[in-house]
Symmetry: C2
């Protein structure tokens, strides 16, 4: 058993505090990882504060993990000690359903095992995430991270990156496509970088005029202030695909009407209260679709990481010590971060 240091929330209203627990010894197919960096995802906050229900306390969030392999199981041949690796939102799945067989473990029929706050298939307990110094994961769910990438800035690729990459690839975004990205936050800024690198013409939609310069620097070809009715009207029927990263309830029709015939708008954020109901007319008159997408499979996560290494893509980050996690959550709630907090896990030993 491996003694592990972490930070945990012990109740929906408690501040994070140091927490110790044991990880399992690596099984023959496991990889043991010394965690270097962990990104801070909005899901961490929802879970730590019990906003989605079902949180088992104490909870150790964190599913944007980058670290180095510190031990490998006897049959774990993918990695060797010292390799730079990543772990994302999943650490297990049934491995025999149709979705797992297709490499889409996030849609596992039995339910994927989340990196934190999920029933642990090994221990019978609950999984603990990346706000910790060590993690032990089956090698199938461990990703290779190129030494070319800044390991801290690569951490958010494991959730924000794959969550935007998967729908961009599934709906075949590429050269010649006009792609809308709604919202410039942790997900939106990755969507711009990835869609741009895939060769698409990228139009960023935001309610904040002061985000215009940033969006252009990140790779957007155009920025539209979504409150500007005239600018919106000028884009009617002009986009092939829209990736909508905004979880707050908003008027979907304003964006659906920008899609060409057969265009698709994919939602990757789930609002706490429903969006206003979209007009069926907007779907029917141009055979448009409104879809959803959940993170991404392991194979496509590796594909995304390799693509990012090739194109020099990482997240824009602000590094924090673990002791500042509560403050970081408060700032996230005010969108006061450009564009992802990443915890330097060395701070655990401070």
């Amino acid at each position: 058993m491996i003694n592990t240091l972490a930070y945990a929330a012990t109740s929906p209203t408690a501040a994070f505090t140091p927490f110790s627990f044991v990880r399992r010894d690596p099984t023959p197919s496991d990889v043991q990882i010394e965690i270097l960096f962990c990104g801070v995802c909005h899901s961490d906050l929802h879970t730590a504060r019990g906003e989605w229900g079902g949180t088992v306390f104490p909870v150790v969030p964190g599913h944007e993990i980058v670290g180095r392999v510190s031990a490998v199981g006897a049959r774990a041949g993918k990695f060797k000690v010292g390799d730079l690796v990543g772990v994302g939102c999943m650490v297990d799945s049934c491995q025999h359903c149709a979705s797992c067989a297709e490499g889409l473990e996030q849609y596992c029929e039995e339910g994927m095992v989340g990196t934190y706050n999920s029933p642990d298939r090994h221990t019978g307990g609950v999984t603990y995430g990346g706000y910790s110094n060590i993690i032990v994961v089956d090698e199938k769910f461990v990703l290779r991270v190129s030494e070319k990438l800044d390991p801290a800035a690569a951490a958010p690729l494991l959730c924000a990156g794959i969550t935007t990459w998967s729908p961009l690839r599934h709906w075949r975004v590429g050269p010649g496509h006009r792609v809308g990205v709604v919202g410039l936050g942790g997900l939106g800024h990755m969507a711009i970088k990835l869609a741009h690198a895939l060769g698409a013409h990228v139009v960023l939609f935001t309610t904040s005029p002061d985000k215009r310069d940033d969006a252009l620097k990140l790779g957007a070809d155009e920025v539209v202030i979504s409150k500007d009715a005239e600018a919106m009207r000028a884009r009617t029927n002009s986009l092939d695909f829209i990736l909508n990263t905004v979880a707050a309830p908003h008027n979907l029709d304003a964006f659906l009407s920008l899609l060409k015939r057969d265009g698709v708008m994919t939602l990757v954020g789930a609002p706490a209260t429903p969006h206003p109901s979209p007009a069926v007319f907007n779907l029917i008159m141009k055979r448009r679709s409104l879809a959803g997408s959940l993170i991404g499979g392991i194979a496509e996560t590796q594909e995304m990481l390799d693509f990012c290494a090739e194109h020099g893509i990482v997240s824009e980050i602000e590094m924090i010590p673990i002791q500042k996690i509560d403050e970081a959550y408060e700032r996230m709630l005010k969108s006061d971060v450009k564009y992802r907090f990443v915890i330097d896990m060395q701070s655990l030993h401070a």
Copy 2:
């Protein structure tokens, strides 16, 4: 100029009355058709009663037209006098936009010209539909109807048939697919017949237990009473595609949750007031899509008519004389028709 007999509504509240007007003489690319039968679509009622706005009175509805060619223009080579033909929801389009070029004239960027109550590109007036004895249409918008089919029962194929055929084909429904059809009315009963003939396993969803036997006779493999929570739950994640023909506002989530991963539910009815907003969670967790579809293009309408001739598929109809059209509308509002009224146009001369 061709003197034409018709029935028209002269105001949103007026009963239908006899109405005479002139059709244009056939241009070189036109076909003149003596109308034998015209189906009665719910859109006729919405338009005649001004429920969608924009109705120009007097209005002559009717866009499920079957008749025989009575004259052809000098360059109209597709048809000869005496041919059995059909005209559906469109009689014109711009013919040069991307959608027209792809044979999807219903999505014409300049707007298709509806068979009735649309600006007429030839006369500058408004188009008059099939509740009449003669129609003159560019041959591009005239369909061949097999002599193998009962011409009266074939009439509803021109709208109810193609409106269900087009999405079934676009989303590649065929053998091995499990397809849901929501609602058993004019559209729903055609959807069952067509999906069954395409080789799919068809599950009909209805709120009316007394429609069960009919649905099975029409070709459904299973009938589920959508108010039966247990029966609905048993079908979770089981369907590849759902064609939802119900225009009344209803809970879309009850059906979205029945789709497998990557499943699509396509709406072909537009409610007057919005459906309750669908849960984004239901889209994200299985990468499902909610889509819409509008009638179908001319090429796929011909494909559908040929398929129906090959498989002996027509609509279930109740024939009426034109003098009973107001009564038929009242009965449609009570769903008191199995499953489509068709007007015997000989009654115009009674």
